[in-house]
Symmetry: none
């Protein structure tokens, strides 16, 4: 289960206006408050944060965090995303984007957004 980084390597923490993710300690701080994340929740958040700004397909998430390959029918990813969002509270919205039909994307706090639906600036 590739839940994160191998111990020993020194990975600089992610940090922005409201969120800090410490990959060494495997902890996350949200606006000074420590997020109480379970292992899977942390693994999911860490993977998203490590690839901030990039779209990560469901398949990739299911593979990396759960070790599921191929055609697995499960909603556990959605449920975990939901719980992460809940714990991110009012910041859930800007941080975790759903990319319909593809996967999810973590966006740093100030980041131009690719909207999924609606109209285009014209």
């Amino acid at each position: 289960m590739g839940s994160g980084q191998a111990a020993g390597k020194s990975i600089p923490p992610y940090r922005d206006e409201h969120l800090k993710v410490d990959f060494e300690q495997q902890t996350a701080l949200l606006d000074d408050g420590r997020m109480a994340l379970t292992r899977k929740e942390y693994a999911l958040l860490a993977l998203l944060v490590e690839h901030a700004g990039e779209i990560i397909p469901r398949e990739a998430l299911l593979m990396q965090v759960w070790g599921y390959g191929g055609e697995v029918k499960t909603r556990t990813l959605d449920v975990h995303v939901r719980r992460l969002r809940k714990k991110l509270g009012r910041f859930a919205e800007p941080y975790i984007e759903t990319i319909f039909g593809i996967g999810y994307r973590f966006q740093p706090y100030h980041a131009p957004r690719f909207m999924q639906a609606g109209s285009v600036s014209q």
Copy 2:
């Protein structure tokens, strides 16, 4: 469904005065505004853009994007082209050409236009 390129390969994005298509992230930027494309819309645009300047027959588009072969009776291609054009806004006109009786052609922003007579500009 050949919606694009296999992951992992590094394909340089398409880019011109107003439009950028990132084949890695499967996203499109129009004059700084992010285009909110659905999967099919992106697949269609990507295919056209990858063959910029070339006429692509309806059949080819239906095959590549939808996997439809032979004698399929559908108007979904037209509907998707329409939605793409809508999202391209004021740029729809120069970018996506209808080649009557044959198919469609994407033209880079500054491109000499040929009359509709199957004149494939290299």
